[in-house]
Each structure stands twice: as C-alpha cells, then as structure tokens.
Amino acid sequence: MILPDVLFVLFASLTLGAGLLVVLSRNTVTAALLVVLSFVGISGLFLLLDATFLAALQILVYAGAVMVLFLFIVMLLDVEKTSHILPKKVSLVLSVSALLVMVIGVTYLLMESPSLPSVDLMPLDMPDAPLGFPAHAKAFGYALFTKYLLPLQTVGFLLLMAMVGVVVLSKSTAKAPEPTSETK
C-alpha cells in the first residue's frame, strides 16, 4: 500500500504548491497556468479515490475549458504591469502567524481526539444505496435527473441570470449620437 500513499503526497503537494504559487506569482498568465497545474493535482486525487468520472471532468471542464477562457480574457485585456502594493509588514506577519496557529491548532485537534477513525480506502459495497458511490457517468446522470432535478433546474436559472447580468454590466450604455438632418 505504499504506492497510493506516495501518489497521494505527490498530487496533494502539487495541488497545494501550485495553489500557493498562484497567489504569489506576479504575472497573470503564469498564475492562470499554475491554476491549471493545481487542477491537474486535484484530478489526480480524484483518480486515487476511484472517482474516475470526476477526474475526467476536472481536466476537461476546469483545466480545459474554464482556464482557457481565463487565459483568453487575461491576454485580451492585456494588463500592463501595474505597480505592486505590498502589504504592510505588520499585517503580513500577523496574517501568516494567524494562519500557522490555525493550521497547527486544527492539526493538533484532529490528532488529539479520535475524530477521524481510519478507514481503508476502498469502494463501499452498498447495493441498496443508489447514490452511494457514483464513480461512473451513468450514476451521476441518474442522480442529477431524478433526486437532484430541482437543484439542477435552479442552476439553469442561475446560469441564465448570470448571463443576463454579464450582458447588462458589460454592454456599453453610451448611446451613439443620433444622425441629425444636417449631416444627411
């Protein structure tokens, strides 16, 4: 069982490391590409959990479509190198130390109390539970169009509304000057 552990550490550090670099990188294009890398790490984690469908979706939708769109926008906007506003030293030190305290505290809490009894990672055998462990696209489809049909429809409205919102917010409201009789 050593290989899954090694792979887990590999993919987890890929995800987290790339995520950290996204925040720290100064160049927007680099940051967007690092997000793709982080998504690849996440899809590796999904693979380790036997969630093959999710892993494929992660690559196809997020790393593929969404991030390409992001890159397009970043490159179309052609942002000039802006002046960097560095955070104040005090707030930087405070926030990093608060983060460390939280990470150590949560780790300590989880190690101290038996809140997470270890389970061997294997697909649960649950014949009676139709929504138990949807590893395949078919199970997802069934669940989405039966039990979760209402949230699915709501998401449809959400997307429509978001689209309308984007059109309204990005449409130029400045009206073109009306042609007067003199110009004709």
Binding site: L110, G132, M161
Partner: protein, 501 residues
C-alpha cells in the same frame, strides 16, 4: 445500480408544491422574452407588468398561506425541501419585499438611464431562490439556492455601471462573497466527509440531508471535525447577515449599490440569512448548543456595540442604514440565541424582521425620492428643511426612523419588546442589557436624522424659499400606507400575531 430506487426519486418530485417559485421564474422569463421581441416603443410597460404580476402572485401566496395555515409540514423532493406554513409566510414576506423593491426601482430608474427589464429579471430570480433557500432541508439545495441569491446580488450591486461607487461595491461584494461561500462550502464538505465515515456511530449515506446530519451530530457533537464544519458553515451564514467580524463589506456595498438594491440587501437578504441560521440551529446543529450558544452570544454583543458605535459618526445615509442594519442583526442574533430555550423565539425574530421591513422600506422610499442623480452621495445635510420641502416625505421618514429606533406607539417597539421578552425568558440577562444599551445609543443617530429634517437650519427672511420636492398621488399613497402600517400594527398586533403564533 438500483434503477427502481431512481424511479421512486423521480416520482417524489412534486413540482406543484413549488408553484410560487416556478411562477416567479416564469415571470422572469416572460419579461426577458417581451423585452426581446416587442418593438422598441412598446417596451416601456414591461416594468409595470412585472410589478402587476408580482402583486398578483403576492395576493395568491397570501391567500394560500391563510388557507393552509396550520397544515402539517412535510418533506418534498426526496427531502430536499421542507414545506411548512412558516415557509409559506416567508414566501409572502419575500414577495412583499421584492414588490417594494420594484417600487423603489421604478422611482430610481426615473433618475438613472439604465436598462430596466434585466433588473426585474435578476431580482425575480433572486426572490425565488430566497424562497427555496429558506425551505431547503438539504445542503445541495441549500448551496445552489444560496449561490443563486449571491450571484444575483453581484449583478444587482454593480448594476449602475456608470457609477464608480457601484462598480467598486460590486467588486468588493464579489470578492468577499466568494470568500464567504468558500468558507461555507468547506464547512459543508467537512460535515459531509465526517458524517459518511463508517467507523463513527450513526454514520449516514445521505450526509448532506439535514435530517440525517441531525442524528449524526447528536451522536458526535464533540468530534473535532464536526465542530470545525459547524463553525465554518455558521461563519458563511454570518457573512450574509453582516454579523461582526463579517461586517467589513457592509458600509461600502450599501453605499455603492443602487438604493433599491441596498434596501433589498438590508431586508430580504438579511431575512434569508436569519431564517437559514434558525433552520440550522434548530435542525442539524441543535446538539451543538454547547458551542454555538456562547459563540453566537459573543458575536451578538460585539455586533450590537460595533454597529451602533460605527453608525454614530456617519454622515452618508446609506452607510448609516448599513451600519444600523448591523446593529439590528445583533438584536436579531439575541433572538436566535434565545431560540435555544424559548420555543416561540423564531417567531419573535420573524416579527422583528417584518417590522424591520416596514420601517426600512419607509426610510428607503423617502431616500429614493430625495436622492439626486448621484445615488451614492446621500448626505445627512441633504435632508435640511425636508419638512418644508415636502411634509409627506418628512413625516414618513419620521415614522420609519421611529419604528427602527423602537419608539413606543410604532411597530418597531413591539418587535424589540418581543425579542427582549424572549431573551429574558431564556435568562440571557447580559445580552438583554447590551441590547437595551444599543437601542439607547441608536436613538442618537436616528433622531439626529429627524432633527435634520425638521428643526435644523435657520434662514434669513430675505432668502429664497427652498425648492419643494414634487410627489404624485401614487407615491403619497404607497409611502403613506407603509407609515400607517407601522403605526397601526404598533397599536393592533393581532393580525400579525394571528399569522405568526
């Protein structure tokens, strides 16, 4: 895979019980279609149609609530939705607030050259999502509805795209809203993960459903991951209601957003947040009382004091409404804490929210009329001599502010008294003391505003008289109705009491 189980799920989707939400969605679609296909000169009636249809739906929902009062609550959609008569009342509440927001929007759009139909479209979908949100009993439905509300608000807050303040507010709301959604989602995921662990007692396979989670958390209330998850979910909700330390977005967003959206945020979004909080602490998180009661009490104390102190020195009225709204969220949190011990405390919270709706919309209605072309710059000094410029507006403002401050004959007073009785019954004496202190502080800034409208300035007799604000009969009727309701419900609460208790 068990296909017959899926067909049971499919048969359990009783769409008819969601008729108000579906009608709202359809109205939103119809508005969009009309705007697409009607000739340009005939489009001006679309906002009026939106108001008319909403009014009709509001009447229908109210009648439905009165008819179905006391019906047995049941789960619909395989446990995604919990239908109760309390939920029907909330639907009527959200429709009333969207109706009043539409009225404010009609006034607002007279002064701002902005597209109108899209505003109503987004607002109607947000209203429907709020209805779903307060009735959801499953974290999947909960999160989808919450995101619909939040994303709709991103659009609405930034709606006045010609104003830098509105865009700034939209950006700030987007970033902080995304942060709070991330906190909430992380909490949900932790709960989902830990509740599905087969090694723990009472583990569940449907660990997003509130019912299964409630059983699980009862058995594992002291599990560190459960504590962390509950804390994160509560933090996410606290952002929506603007409780300290998640109040940081409120002044800027309230100032920059168009006035109707500010009112919508202040009343409907806050109500949705509180109803969700009550659903959570009375449902899945009920056995976390040992953690949540001290936590929410501390948050309530800080919220009341911070909101009132910060509002004291505000000159911009939209910021003042925002910060005083933080203080109101603090009083409401006292009611939420009392709900751990007093069974009618949630009703007191809703009663308070209804009084808050009446008072706030009276004040925001006046603000929409007094505001100039620059919507974000509504200063206290603009209200000098309001009583001479338009007596109706000044009196409605006084009634609204008096109700918000909790002055006896008005309904805001009754709301506060109910909350305080609940806190007293729950033996929350410290919280009670802090709330009363907060109310005393709040009188300073509410009355300062009234003083500005009535008594402030002195004019030399040879000066030209101040310009009057014209107000047509419809506006006098609507604003007067709000003011009369704050007074009448303050004297006779039987109607509301009958609906609630």
């Amino acid at each position: 895979m068990n296909a017959s189980a899926f067909s049971v799920f499919a048969e359990n989707n009783q769409w008819s019980v969601l008729w108000p939400e579906i009608s709202l969605g359809l109205i939103a679609l119809i508005l969009l279609l009309l705007d697409c296909f009607l000739p340009k000169d005939k489009r001006s009636f679309v906002p009026g149609l939106a108001v008319f249809l909403q009014g009709g739906l509001f009447l229908a929902v109210s009648v439905f609530f009165i008819e179905s009062r006391g019906m047995d609550a049941f789960y619909a959609f395989n446990g995604l939705i919990y239908m109760s008569s309390f939920g029907s009342l909330l639907r009527a509440f959200f429709l009333l607030s969207s109706l009043l927001v539409s009225y404010l929007a009609l006034v607002y759009f007279k002064k701002q050259p902005l597209p109108r139909t899209e505003f109503f479209h987004v607002m109607l979908i947000v209203t429907a999502a709020m209805m779903l949100l307060v009735q959801s009993a499953h974290f999947v439905m909960f999160f989808v509805a919450l995101e619909t509300v939040t994303i709709g608000f991103y659009v609405l807050v930034a709606y006045c795209r010609t104003s830098a303040f509105s865009l700034e507010a939209g950006l700030k709301y987007l970033i902080l809203g995304a942060l709070s959604s991330a906190l909430l989602l992380f909490g949900i995921v932790l709960l989902y993960g830990v509740a599905g662990n087969p090694e723990l007692p009472a583990f569940t396979q449907d660990s997003m459903s509130f019912l299964s989670l409630q059983t699980f958390i009862e058995n594992n209330a002291h599990n560190a991951l459960v504590q962390l998850g509950v804390l994160l979910v509560i933090s996410g909700v606290a952002f929506k209601i603007g409780a300290v330390p998640f109040q940081i977005w409120i002044p800027d967003v309230y100032q920059g957003a168009p006035t109707p959206v500010t009112a919508f945020l202040a009343v409907a979004s806050k109500t949705a947040g509180f109803m969700v909080l009550l659903n959570l602490i009375q449902g899945p998180f009920a056995s976390m009382e040992y953690l949540l009661k001290p936590l929410l009490s501390a948050v309530a104390v800080v919220t009341i004091l911070f909101g009132n102190m910060a509002a004291l020195s505000q000159q911009n009225l939209k910021r003042l409404m925002g910060l005083s709204g933080v203080a109101h969220a603090g009083y409401l949190l006292v009611g939420v804490v009392a709900a751990f011990h007093v069974h009618w405390a949630p009703l007191a919270v809703l009663f308070y929210l209804i009084t808050y709706l009446l008072g706030s919309f009276a004040v925001f209605g006046v603000m929409a009329h007094v505001a100039g072309e620059q919507d974000e710059a509504q200063e206290l000094s603009d209200y000098q001599d309001l009583a001479q410029r338009n007596t109706t507006l000044a009196s409605v403002l006084t009634m609204g502010l008096g109700s918000l401050a909790g002055i006896p004959p008005l309904v805001g007073f009754i709301g506060k008294v109910l909350l305080f009785i609940a806190a007293f019954r729950a033996e929350l004496y410290t919280l009670l003391g802090v709330s009363i202190l907060g109310v005393v502080i709040s009188i300073y800034y509410y009355f300062g505003w009234m003083r500005e409208a009535f008594f402030r300035s002195w004019h030399a007799p040879q000066e030209a008289p101040v310009a009057a604000i014209p107000l047509s009969g419809v506006h006098v009727f609507i604003l007067g109705l709000l003011a009369m309701l704050t007074l009448l419900l303050g004297l006779f609460q039987n109607v509301l009491g009958w609906a609630l208790f």
